[in-house]
């Protein structure tokens, strides 16, 4: 399986990244891409931009762990996860998750699984620039329940490695 995981400050071409997954291959029957974009509002208030902070080293590791879980769970032929950090303006891409498989079910499910976990487990934090000043975005309970459905009924918790 082809796996690409990148954290970067710069914008990127979503279509080129999706095309890279299938280049030269004839075994892939389905590619699902999810693109997360920066909106111009946060809870109804206009924002000028958002800034994403992340935990270098852990963010990559956490994404890689979840890609491995997705791979163990569905017959995937390729996964690309690209997440930006730094300052991002409304309309710009924040995140791309692309999954490739022989058939659509695995590609759809794995893309959704990866996004749900990215939202709740990958160490990124959004700060928005409002007219009233900067503010950290609050985590949403809806994101937690979206992630929990993949591990129902009792979500496993990772204990300290040592």
């Amino acid at each position: 399986m082809t796996t690409t995981i990148r954290l970067q400050r710069d914008a990127f071409d979503v279509n080129a990244e999706a095309a890279r997954l299938t280049r030269g291959r004839t075994d892939i029957g389905a590619v699902v891409t999810f693109t997360g974009l920066c909106r111009a509002d946060e809870n109804g208030e206009p924002i000028a931009a958002l800034t994403l902070e992340y935990y270098p080293g852990m963010a990559e590791a956490e994404i890689a762990r979840h890609v491995e879980q997705a791979r163990a769970r569905w017959p995937l032929l390729g996964v690309t996860v690209i997440h930006r950090h730094g300052r991002i303006a409304p309309g710009e891409v924040i995140v791309l998750v692309a999954t490739a498989s022989s058939h659509r079910e695995a590609a759809f499910a794995a893309a959704e699984f990866l996004m749900d976990y990215l939202k709740t487990r990958a160490p990124f934090w959004k700060q928005v620039e409002k007219i009233s000043g900067t503010a950290w975005v609050d985590a949403k309970a809806a994101d937690d329940s979206a992630a929990e459905r993949w591990s129902a009924p009792s979500p496993p918790r990772r204990e300290a490695a040592k």
């Binding site: 992340y54 935990y55 852990m58 990215l118 487990r121 990124f124 934090w125 950290w136 300290a160 040592k162």
Partner: protein, 83 residues
């Protein structure tokens, strides 16, 4: 041991990272948060509601009852909001 802070925990503490000598009696992540909270006003503010703060040991998520013995790096941060 290296301690890292992110997002509003970092802002409240006033630094991104520091090296601390683990005091006697601090065995778990929760103990460490309680100990940090009494180091001054900034720390007290950062850790005023320890239940909302998440932690990682050596770049893996852990709960507050996780033992910190043998940890090289421990990080404290708010619930994540990426994606």
């Amino acid at each position: 041991m290296k301690v890292l802070y992110f997002a509003w925990v970092r802002e409240r503490v006033g630094k991104a990272e520091e090296v601390i000598d683990l005091p006697a009696g601090v065995a778990t992540v929760g103990d460490l948060m309680a100990w940090l909270a009494q180091r001054g006003e900034d720390y007290a503010y950062a850790f005023e509601n320890p239940r909302v703060i998440r932690a990682a040991i050596d770049r893996s998520h852990v709960r507050a009852d996780a033992k910190i013995e043998g940890a090289g790096e421990i990080a404290f941060f708010p619930p994540m909001t990426g994606g």
